[in-house]
Symmetry: C2
Subunit: 123 residues, 2 copies
């Protein structure tokens, strides 16, 4: 890939990401009181069979530093959307479990999320 093409690709990537993340952030915040990172956590938890993941697993799925993820989960916990539970087999670890209110909030926000993605990627 010639150098200038790579730069063009990067700029296009930036542009798309900026547009979409801004659109998601504002739509989720305004309509559902959720930040993008918060929704992302809920969205991953819903996909899990047991609606429960370890911090470490979440960290691999979500592009956030370990500390940022820790605080994001803390915010969700404060709002009662997830709960933390100690890991029985390894007490250093923490399970993050989706609560019923969390599942409900996600169900409300999900259509917004999907719609914004479709609209923005199309536009």
């Amino acid at each position: 890939m010639p150098e200038e093409v790579a730069v063009k690709t990067w700029r296009e990537l930036s542009r798309q990401f900026a547009a979409l993340s801004w659109a998601l952030e504002s739509a989720l915040k305004e309509q559902h009181e959720l930040g993008m990172s918060e929704f992302e956590v809920l969205d991953r938890l819903v996909e899990d069979e047991h609606r429960c993941l370890r911090m470490q697993e979440l960290g691999e799925l979500i592009h956030l530093s370990q500390s940022a993820l820790s605080r994001t989960v803390a915010r969700l916990e404060k709002d009662g959307l997830v709960e933390r539970a100690l890991c029985a087999t390894d007490r250093r670890g923490v399970y993050v479990r989706l609560t019923d209110p969390g599942q409900q909030r996600h169900a409300e926000a999900r259509p917004t999320h999907r719609r914004v993605i479709n609209d923005t990627l199309r536009g």
Copy 2:
């Protein structure tokens, strides 16, 4: 485009952007004492015929809020890499002009920038 495919696209976009912006940020910071946004400003200025753009023009090229751009330019100015000049025709406007040290710093950093992009997009 089916809904799940759009979500996959978004997640892939996020993943690529996170990987590339992190790689750029750390490489530019470590090797050239430049943040990604700072480099982006220099990179756009170099491409301009007169190495000089209005804040507003920069704002359209770079995906940064107006306030963030203002501060990014302020940091560059503090380091002597750009200078601000009042716009003669509209005294509300500000021209941002690349200085010689700025051009030199960009020339040093550019190969790093291009290489990281190529390597990361390929990987």
